[in-house]
């Protein structure tokens, strides 16, 4: 790993060089008073102020709607067309947060634990991630409770930390990161040992540990906590859509006469139709059972089956929830409770 320094004023110049040479650069852009990741063509207008974007950046590798294949019917016959290579574009994600970068780890596990999902893999392989370490946090952040942190470098190709108004630390973590630095070599100097990254980071006290949750969930299936916590849940699915690790999807047909495409769209375990059989029978008939699935999946089933937790502590679900369900609060109560 290489530690470099760039003058804070030169960050825009560096980004401009990246935009010049990489076909797709995604960065937070203000949308009203909030920010979303958008494809940018200029280094101006990148939002460096928001704590996080509304949505996570998972769509870069797992689009909200994507074609799985196309078909064409002619008489009795059907022809299938695979997804063309040029759908997978070299991409730089700029000014993601550490919790965005680690979000790709559970996604990659889900899409590869058994069958290999090459649609996801080909998108993900072409992504380089530049995270900006968090020098502040808001009340919804809880990365330190689930094993992350404001300066966590896991999953990042480069991590940028604003040390002060003049100096910014650039940690080059992978070969993909090297290439991005090489685009503007002159802008960087070696970082002195005295540069203290830790000091610049936000203070985010841990509220619980993910292992505590995992342990308590083993005996919590029949707990009254699910009903109590989900009483106000509308089942709108916003939490799943903004989540960096939620990967549940639907497969639908986009048909136009004799041709069309099969598409994959984001879905949510919070929707009542998610598990409903054609007969009307529903294995998860109430919002309480669906809320339990959401928490169990992320903190019990995924660690058991995939050896990875389905939460990065980004807090987006809490920020997006229309009825103010705060996942960190709910998890804290699960961590502190005994359900025996």
């Amino acid at each position: 790993m290489e530690r470099l320094i760039i003058k804070s004023d030169n960050i825009g110049t560096w980004l401009a060089k990246i935009i010049d040479s990489v076909p797709r650069v995604l960065a937070p852009v203000k949308d009203g008073d909030k920010a979303e990741f958008k494809s940018i063509k200029s280094a101006d207008g990148v939002d460096y102020d928001s704590q996080t974007t509304i949505s996570s950046v998972k769509a870069a590798a797992f689009p909200r709607t994507e074609t799985l294949f196309a078909y064409e019917k002619e008489g009795m016959e059907t022809k299938l067309y695979n997804v063309a290579e040029d759908n997978f574009v070299e991409t730089v994600i700029w000014r993601a947060r550490p919790c965005d970068a680690v979000g790709f780890k559970p996604l990659t596990s889900i899409f590869n634990w058994d069958y290999k999902d090459e649609l996801y893999n080909q998108r993900y392989d072409k992504i380089a991630i530049v995270t900006f370490a968090c020098t502040s946090a808001d009340k919804c952040c809880f990365c330190t409770s689930v094993g992350g942190g404001p300066g966590n470098t896991e999953g990042s190709d480069i991590q940028v930390t604003m040390i002060d108004k003049e100096k910014t630390l650039v940690e080059v973590l992978t070969d993909k990161g090297e290439k991005l630095v090489a685009l503007a070599k002159d802008l960087f100097t070696a970082a002195e040992d005295s540069i203290d990254k830790e000091k610049a980071l936000a203070d985010i006290p841990a509220k619980f540990t993910k292992e505590q949750i995992h342990e308590n969930l083993a005996k919590a299936f029949d707990s009254p906590v699910w009903k109590a916590q989900s009483e106000r849940c509308l089942g709108c699915g916003a939490c799943a859509f903004v989540c960096p690790t939620c990967a549940c999807f639907d497969i639908q047909e986009d048909a136009h006469g004799n041709h069309g495409r099969r598409v994959r769209c984001w879905d949510s375990c919070g929707f009542s139709l998610f598990t409903q059989h054609t007969s009307g029978h529903n294995p998860r008939p109430t919002q309480a059972t669906r809320w339990r699935q959401r928490i169990m999946h992320k903190f019990s089933y995924m660690p058991d089956r995939l050896n990875v937790y389905g939460c990065t502590g980004c807090g987006r679900c809490s920020r997006a929830c229309p009825v103010d369900m705060n996942i960190a609060e709910h998890l804290t109560s699960i961590a502190n409770s005994s359900h025996e």
Partner: protein, 278 residues
């Protein structure tokens, strides 16, 4: 690009068989012969069937792996996709992703007696096993089939039921729900669990395979227990809703298990350890 796991095989509908009101069997062959020759599956595996323009839906492969050259699916027309499949005519093409999921542990059943208990449209997944067993008849002990439907008309595979009924090495007990019988009905009248209890198959060295709607399964398990069947010798298939069939889309979870990957075949011992989410 590497293999796209969502692209189905193209199949040609060779034969459409009307089984019962709203229920059809499609006999399918691979359009690409090479793919067909390379294709292998086991009894219990399921598939994702595409009606292009409508979508994809999930059911077991209803034919036995011992019957080569074709696969069959039997379905009830219920929603958008099954209506699309229902409209297919002989010679038309559709999609097929398979084999998916686990299989019945038939090899472990050699030398044992087998009791099949099925209700309504749940005979098809079991028929893959029954035909497989009958094609290797001398490797197994007594074969008993208890099958029920709402009405006489709703019984599927009527020709095969006649065949099984005439075989000296198969005991077939057929039943219809009260009110579903016809004047010339020779079978039982009553619900599957009570008819099973009356049939009283011996449980010694015997495996029970149960398929049916959740309510039938719920009332059949206690009867089997009463008859002395051990949980490790009782099997069923779960029918949770699925989309991908390959452990990713997230909807068939029962606790930590994926019905599409760890199932659809589960023993009663496994079911006992799972939360009641099926």
């Amino acid at each position: 690009m590497s293999r796209n796991i969502y692209m189905p095989y193209i199949m040609v509908v060779d034969k459409v068989i009307d089984e019962a009101p709203g229920v059809k069997t499609l006999r399918l062959r691979f359009e690409n012969e090479e793919e067909g020759n390379a294709f292998e599956f086991k009894a219990g595996n399921f598939a994702e069937y595409s009606a292009f323009g409508e979508g994809e839906c999930t059911f077991c492969i209803a034919s036995a792996p011992t019957r080569k050259g074709y696969v069959e699916c039997t379905f009830r027309k219920a929603g958008r996709v099954t209506s699309g499949l229902d409209r297919l005519e002989e010679g038309m093409t559709m999609g097929f992703r398979a084999p998916l999921g686990n299989a019945f542990p038939i090899e472990e059943w050699k030398g044992k007696n087998l009791v099949f208990v099925a209700g309504g449209i749940a005979l098809p997944p079991m028929r893959a096993v029954i035909d497989n067993v009958l094609d290797r008849r001398d490797e197994f002990g007594d074969v008993t089939i208890v099958y029920g439907a709402k009405t006489v008309n709703d019984l599927v595979y009527k020709d095969e039921l006649k065949e099984w009924d005439e075989r000296p090495d198969v005991t077939l007990v057929q039943t219809v729900d009260p009110g579903g019988e016809t004047p010339d009905w020779k079978g039982e009248v009553g619900f599957v669990p009570s008819v099973l209890e009356k049939a009283d198959p011996k449980s010694d060295n015997t495996v029970a395979i149960v398929c049916g709607p959740p309510i039938m399964i719920k009332f059949t398990f206690p009867v089997l227990e009463k008859l002395g069947f051990k949980d490790e010798n009782t099997f069923t298939t779960l029918e949770n809703r699925m989309k991908c069939g390959i452990g990713k889309c997230g909807r068939c979870n029962v606790g930590p298990m994926f019905v599409c990957k760890d199932g659809p075949v589960f023993s009663k011992v496994q079911l006992n350890a799972l939360p009641p989410e099926f």
